[in-house]
Assembly symmetry: C2
Homo-oligomer: 206 residues x 2
Amino acid sequence: MARRARRPEARPDEILDAALAVFSEVGFAGARVEDIAARAGLSKGAVYVYFESKELMLKALVRRLADRVVGAAEMLVQSNAQADAEQTLRSLLTFMAMQLSNPKVSAAPRLVLAEAQRFPEIAALYRDDVIGRARQLLGKLCDRGIAQGVFRAVDRDVMLRSCAGPMLAHMMLSTVFADPKNPAPPPEVIAGGIADLVLNGLRPRP
Amino acid sequence: MARRARRPEARPDEILDAALAVFSEVGFAGARVEDIAARAGLSKGAVYVYFESKELMLKALVRRLADRVVGAAEMLVQSNAQADAEQTLRSLLTFMAMQLSNPKVSAAPRLVLAEAQRFPEIAALYRDDVIGRARQLLGKLCDRGIAQGVFRAVDRDVMLRSCAGPMLAHMMLSTVFADPKNPAPPPEVIAGGIADLVLNGLRPRP
DNA sequence: CCTATTAGTGACCAATGGGTCATTAATAGA
DNA sequence: TCTATTAATGACCCATTGGTCACTAATAGG
């Protein structure tokens, strides 16, 4: 086989990209290291230069990905720190729904959902680094809304489930369970509808 | 090994029970037919008397399970056909949240979420037999609420995501991502909170 | 009892795939 | 240009496991 250029610095990331693609297609157990290597343009042996085992690849992958979605969400909330909480939450929900409609973005959380049961360490990592931060973020936003008088008091665990849940459902429905015969409305419409419902739900009753 | 009594009629169900347990612990690809057999109190060979292959076991399993949760939900809505839509939806949401807090009940949907990507046939089956029916059910309930003047007009796809999503999130958070250090409030409290928020969200604005 | 039937067994086969390592080739430095 | 270093290869090893099948033993019927 044609020998490829030596670019050791770039390898780990390339391998992880390939691993995410393969894992999310056939699952962790079903993925062959040789396929991951091939997709990264390497031989199997080279993969083991950078990662000790297939399982450590999975962990590195989750660690690398944990930041991306939540990080972007935190950024969005922070940059809207002055705006009213209602508008910020609407932007956040819309942004998330749009992101998660993209199979490439949703591949990572989908993979975690699929494998968490089998790898308690990964479940714990995700719980602390993604779910925990999302809960914090929503909690703070919620406090702001309450202070501004636009949200009523809501438990954080209820808030987390009520905001993240529809996003999760939308992700699954627009990727693995997408029905070519009955296409759903475009994501921005769905996202807007969900935001309307949740925001209306958060409004204090007269 | 001690030979067990011959009870051919009961075998398929016993094997599927065992398969669900093993699949949901280690995933489909990670499950060994021999382990499934052992858990059912049989040898590997016997399993192949009843199921042609491991994959057909998975399909049979999903088919058998599809009914259970949605069937119960449909029953609940039907038996409350006279009551007001708001109260019915509250009961439905609470019932689902309680059910899905139980790892034994949630094992099946969790398994489907994990494997659907890899088995398009299973994804299609679940989409039609579970998600489709849930969408119908919520749509009808929604129509009733609108007719009674207690719900405002909501798109069915938004309704599906906004109702099923929090349940899904609750399921994942109370099983795979449960944090022993920060226990969530009891399920009935969470369920009530979610129902409050969603119902308030559905109320027509003055 | 004796025999026919069939549920159930478990040794075995063949393929698969994670992981290793001796070897090769590309580069850096002198 | 020559040598030392190291990125990368791929043939190989071997444990694992889906699936088969010749055989065993429990039951049913006469």
